[in-house]
């Protein structure tokens, strides 16, 4: 009985706050737009019965998504941006995690603190700060002009470059922490053993360190890729008009077009796309847990 209660609480939470809202969104995506509050029909009427209500639902909005090439371009562009930023975050994050794991033990808690420290400020404020750094007259351009490296200010803000910088910056801790956890657990004598058996330092890194931190790399990559795919704040604040991301499209459908049904359809498709990496991520976590037991 106690076990049942323990399991029931999180499930009730998930049903109430995830499944029910999702079903509402799914229902809206199958409705038609209308000038009303809320801006869609049909509304459920007890008098007409459930069958009459279901008969009014259709896949019109999903078909519309395939007809206008804005949507699939936005999806593809989001996938591309998310993939590239995940790779960039990995390239920046791995050396940091490696350095942390190799640092003297008394330094590690401090280094860990520094990684987590940005979370103490609002995410939105930090993105605004990047606007100040990257803008035409921003700190970065002023600094580079002062050192004489460039003569003309660089155009970074409102480009995809700014979006990459924003995503890498924001999601870096999510990449570092799982990789650090994997590297920290690694037995240092494994590297010595590899060298003893004829590996150079670089070979030992490639043949031992990388495979042993694989689970950390996979976990970190998904933790960056999944939220980056639906990212809205960073592309809308740092990206330009040509930065096409599905999160931005979604926002515009909801708030500019007030086309709730199409916006819901976009959200449902985004969720379906995300199911694939989420399932892969879960499987990786499970495999890791099994390997450790």
């Amino acid at each position: 009985m106690r076990r049942f209660v323990l399991i029931a609480v999180p499930y009730a939470w998930l049903v109430a706050l995830f499944l029910v809202p999702f079903l509402i969104v799914l229902k809206i995506s199958l409705s038609d737009t209308a000038l009303a509050i809320p801006p869609y029909v049909p509304k459920f009427e007890w008098a007409e019965g459930i069958m009459a209500f279901l008969r009014q639902l259709d896949f019109e909005n999903f078909i519309f998504l395939t007809e206008d090439n804005l949507y699939w371009k936005a999806y593809l562009s989001s996938l591309q941006i998310a993939t590239i930023s995940t790779i960039l975050t990995l390239m920046v994050g791995y050396p940091i995690a490696y350095g942390m794991a190799r640092a003297p033990a008394e330094w590690r808690p401090t280094l860990m603190m520094l990684i987590i420290l940005p979370f103490w400020t609002s995410f939105l404020i930090r993105v605004y700060a990047w606007m100040g750094i990257l803008s035409q007259e921003g700190f970065l351009n002023q600094f580079l002009l002062w050192t004489g490296i460039i003569n003309e200010p660089l155009t970074i803000i409102n480009t995809n470059t700014a979006v990459y910088i924003g995503i890498v910056y924001t999601y870096l801790p999510f990449m570092i922490l799982p990789i650090y956890a994997a590297l920290d657990r690694m037995d240092g004598s494994l590297i010595e053993a590899a060298e003893d058996l004829g590996c150079s330092r670089l070979m030992a890194f490639w043949l031992v360190t990388i495979p042993l931190s694989k689970n950390g790399i996979i976990a970190g990559s998904f933790l960056v890729f999944i939220p980056a795919l639906g990212e809205f704040v960073i592309p809308s604040l740092l990206g330009g008009s040509r930065t096409l991301m599905i999160g931005k499209v979604l926002w515009e459908e909801f708030f500019s077009n007030r086309d709730w049904p199409v916006a819901s359809a976009v959200a449902v498709i985004l969720l379906l796309i995300l199911v694939v990496p989420i399932v892969l991520f879960q499987r990786n976590q499970q495999k890791q847990a099994e390997a450790e037991s």
């Binding site: 037995d187 010595e192 053993a193 060298e195 003893d196 150079s200 070979m203 042993l212």
Partner: protein
Amino acid sequence: MGPVLQSTEFAPWNDPTEKPLIRFRNVTKRFGDFVAINDLTLDIYEQEFFALLGPSGCGKTTLMRMLAGFETPSEGQIELSGQDIVPVPPNKRAVNMMFQSYALFPHLSIWDNIAFGLRRSPMSKPDIKARVEEMLKLTRLEKFAHRKPHQISGGQRQRVALARSLAKAPKLLLLDEPMGALDKKLRQETQFELMDIQEKTGTTFVIVTHDQEEAMTVASRVAVMDEGCLIQVSTPDRIYESPNSVYVADFIGDVNIIKGTAKAQGDDLYQVNWSDGMPPLNATSETDFSDGQTCHLAIRPEKVAISADKPDGADNAVQGKILDIAYLGNLSTYHVELTSGVIIKAQTSNTRRISRRSFTWEDPVWLSWTATAGVLLVN
């Protein structure tokens, strides 16, 4: 191997024409202010099973890590087959190491673990396969070739580590506490297995251990270390029977140390005056002592006999009463307090059942031993 007619005893260290495989020459290793190895000179010969024995922190692991190439000496030279190996990195040395933690690669199968070193050498695939299978057979691991390290037992893991370090047929194999993680029974079996493998492959083994029984069992020679220095380097029987210092006598096995002053009696025989009002003890010694010089008589408990009555004609006999009895199953160690307050340990085999034991607590007894049973040591 010399001609068959010669003595079959393996003792290259007694042969001045024999060239040592490893040569430490005045090696010093410092970590900051701490001196881990202090001006150490040592020769190790081919096909030896050489044990470095000492308490933790005595420098034995540092010595081994210098052979593997993970540490470089602060001063001095290390030669392998006459070549200075100090500047050679670990991956270029014909030396392999078996790590205390085994350091098996958890992401690779047993087969791939053993093949790891071979794949880093210019060896053809079929040759690698043949060599790995040979190693699997040598260590009786054929059945586990495709398992991962976490899917086998501790003893099997230990054998994988051994197979992996032997696969490249190194000139020298280093074993860092190879049996530290095994339970006692398995450890004893493994010791003999290790000796077998060492004989079969003819590889020179250097083993680091803090377990003196293990060192005595497996090694052809044992080096007892303390604070970065070699205290004694000799065969296990010499180390046990003729320790060169109180430190070695005390470190290896159980021992009674009686402090006194020596007085020559001629013909290597000395009288030891050890306590006021007690008759002097008689002991022989190969080293010379001047009259009145302080000496320590080291005598093993199993060489001290215990009896109810004063034995006739014993070189040494002292009286006391039993303070404590340590029952070990096969042996019993009696702690006997002499009238002077000194406690002497005497060990006997339990040839009778415990209920029929001749002595019990508080019993007055006589302890006796011969003049040749102990060793006289300066310090």
